[in-house]
Point group: C2
Chain length 436, copies 2
Amino acid sequence: MENTINIGIIGVGTVGSGVVSMLTEHKELLKAKVGLPLRVTKMVSRSFKLESPVEGISVGKDPREIIEDPEIDIVVELIGGLEPAKSYILDAITRGKAVVTANKLLISQHGFEILKIASERGVPVGFEGSVAGGIPIIRVIRDALIGNEISMVRGIVNGTCNYILTKMFNEKKEFETVLKEAQRLGYAEKDASLDVDGIDSAHKIAILSFLSFGTDTKFKDVYYEGITALTYGDLQYAFDMGHKIKLLGIAEKVGDKLSLRVHPVMLPKDSILAKIDGVYNAVEVIGDYTGPTIYIGKGAGSKPTASAVVSDIVDTARSIYQKKKTKKGFVFLPKVTEPNLMDISELRSKYYIRLEVVDKPGVLAAISGIFGNHDISLKYVLQIERHEGQTVPIVIMTHISKEKNIKQSLKLIEGLEVVTKKPVMIRAMDDETPTG
Amino acid sequence: MENTINIGIIGVGTVGSGVVSMLTEHKELLKAKVGLPLRVTKMVSRSFKLESPVEGISVGKDPREIIEDPEIDIVVELIGGLEPAKSYILDAITRGKAVVTANKLLISQHGFEILKIASERGVPVGFEGSVAGGIPIIRVIRDALIGNEISMVRGIVNGTCNYILTKMFNEKKEFETVLKEAQRLGYAEKDASLDVDGIDSAHKIAILSFLSFGTDTKFKDVYYEGITALTYGDLQYAFDMGHKIKLLGIAEKVGDKLSLRVHPVMLPKDSILAKIDGVYNAVEVIGDYTGPTIYIGKGAGSKPTASAVVSDIVDTARSIYQKKKTKKGFVFLPKVTEPNLMDISELRSKYYIRLEVVDKPGVLAAISGIFGNHDISLKYVLQIERHEGQTVPIVIMTHISKEKNIKQSLKLIEGLEVVTKKPVMIRAMDDETPTG
C-alpha cells in the first residue's frame, strides 16, 4: 500500500458527490491511465449528497479528521466560501498535504497568498474546478500556452446568465420571467445576484487574469455589470443589427494597462462566442504565438466540475508519487490494449449522394429501386436542372443507412448506363452539437 | 548553472526557428512563469531557417553533437519523417535524455513503442506539436480529461484541406483551381496528396485515438478518404440543405468497437465545427463527465507549433528539475507583479444605447447634440415606433468612442425631461473572430 495515494474530501455536496462517483465508477480506467492507485479514505460533510455510502470510505462531520490524518496525501476542499475553507486549506498545506479545491471565491481573493505559502512548503495546489467546470482553462493557460505572451482572455464564464439570455431571446421573454423559471428549475439560485449581477464572472476573471498576466489581481480589481437591465427588445434590436448579446468576462492588455471587466457585449452573430448558448461556457485566449484559441464546454454542474477536480487530483498524485519514489521521473504510459476496430462498412449514417445522370424517363425509378432493394430510404431527391437527353446532377439525402448497403447500391448505380460519372458520397452528421 | 536545463534542437526549419525565436524572445517571460532557466545550447540543421545566428547557441550539421552531449538534458527533434528521426530519438532516450518532438508521422506509427522504451528508462517524451499545432489537444486528452471515459474525438485537423474547402465555397471555385492557388501561395505542398487525400488527418486520428482509448492504434488502422472528389456544386447543394462540408478525422466508440476514419462530413451549418474556416483547426472531445468540449485554434505554422513544442519543453524541464533537486516537489508559482489596472472609464468601444423617450419634435436633436458635444459619432439611430406624445424606444449604435464620454453623455441625457427611464448601454465587440 505504500504507493497508494490517499485522498480526503471535505464537503460532499453537488461537486463532491460527483468526484466520489467519478473516482469509484472509473477506478479501473484511472488505474490504467494513471498507473497509480488513488483511494478516497475519508469524507466529511454536513449534508452528504451521495446516493449511497461507498465501501471502504469512512465518513464523518469534522474536517480535522481529514486535515490531521497523517495517512492522507491530498485534501480536497469542496465546501466553498472564504472561511473556514481558507483555514482548512492553510492548515493542510502547513502539514505538507497537497490541496485540490474548486473554490472560486477563495482563489479570486486569496489565490496568490495560498499559492505562495504552498510553494514555500513545496506542496501542490490545484484549482481547475474554480473556473468554467468542464473546460480545462486553468491548465491551458498555466501549462499549454506557457511560452506565449497573452494579450487577452475573454469569455462566457457564467452558465446561469447565458442560460437566461438564451431563453430570453429564443422565447421572446423578459428577464424577470426567465429568472423565475430558472429558479424554479434549479438553474439559478434563489438569491441570484451573485450570477446575474456579474459578480461570479468577476471572480473568474480575477483568477484567469492572475494566471494569464502574472499579476496579483483580485476580485476587487474587476469592474462588473450584470444582465438585469437587459430586455427582450435589446436582444432583438441587437440581432436585427447582426449581433447577439452575451455577458463576457474580459481581461485585456490595453497599452501598458490591464483592463479587467465583466459586462454584456454585443458580438457579431456569426462569431463563435455568439453561438455558445444555454449552460455552455467558452473562453478565448489570445497568445502572441498561438493567435486566438477558443475552449468550449459545460461551465458548471456536478459532473463537469468533478472532471476538473479529478484531473487536479491525478496531477497532484503524480507529483506526490514522484516525491515518494524519487529514483526516476514519473513518465506517462497508459495501459495499452488491442483495439477492436470497426470496419468502415459497419458505419451507420445519413448520406449525401451526388450522381451525374442522363436526363431521361425512368432514371430516377431505376436509382430509387436499387436503394430500396438495399434497405435505404431517401429523405430528399433533388434534380436541380432539366435537360432531356443531357447529363444533369441528382442530389440525394438518405435517412440513416448502413455504409455497406450504400456502397453496394452505389456500385450498382455506377454500373447503370445512364450514370456518367463515379457517384460522390458524403456522410452527414446531424447529431446534437454542444451548443444546445 | 547546475539547475539550468540545457536544450539541443535537431532540425531548424519552419517549426524549429519558431521554437528558437520563442525561447529567446520570451526568455524573461519564461523565467518568470517557469522559474527555471531554459537554455538552447546547440542546434543542428541541414538548412537553417533562422533569420540570424543567436548568441550563445552553437550550430552544427551532425545530430550526434546533440545526442551525445552529456550537458544536454532535452533533445528536440524537428526533422520529421520516420528515419533517421526514430533512431535519433531512441538513441537520446537510451542515453537518458528527455525528448520533445512534433513528428506526427513517427508518433502515428511508432508512438507506443517509443513511449514504452521511454517509460522503462524513466524519460519523459512530449509530442504536443504533432497534432493541431496551437491547440493543446494532447495535454487536454492526456491530463485534463483523464478521469473521463471518452466516447468520441472528432475534428478538423488538416488546415490545408479546410483552407481549400473554405475557398471553394466562398469563391465558387473548383478543387483543382483552389489547390493550384494554395500551392502558389505556399498553403499547400507541391505534392499535396498527404493533405488532400486525408492521410495527414489519418496520422493525427491515430495519435488522438491512442491517447483517448489507450489502444495501440496506428495509421494503418484508420480508414481515409480525401476531398479531391468534391466540387463547388457539392458544397453549394449541401449549404442549400442547411449543411457545410468539412473533412473530419473521427475516432469513435461504436458499441464495443472503435471506428477510426477520415472523410468529408456534412455538418449542420450552424454547428461550431461548420464555422471553423480557413487554416483553423477544431477538435471536439466527448467525455462521460465533461460532456462535449471543443478546442479551436490554428492548426499549423511556425508559431502555433512552436508554442506547443515549448510547452512540452517546459513540462519536461520541470520534471528534470524535480529529479535534480528532489528535496521537494516543484510547485507552480509564477512571479507576480502589481497590476497596472485600466479604469473602465478609459475603455474605447462601440456602444449600443437604448433610450425610452417621449416621442415629440426636437428630442432626437437634443440627444444627438449631447453626443456630438462629447466627441461621439453615431452609426445608427433607430426610432422603431412612432406614437406622438407617448414613450417610445430609440436605439443608437455609436462609432468607437470613449467610455468616459459615453457615461457623461448618458448622465446628461438621463436628465432630459423627455427621457423616461435610465438608458441601457451595451458595449459592442466587432473585432475579427478567429474563424477568418
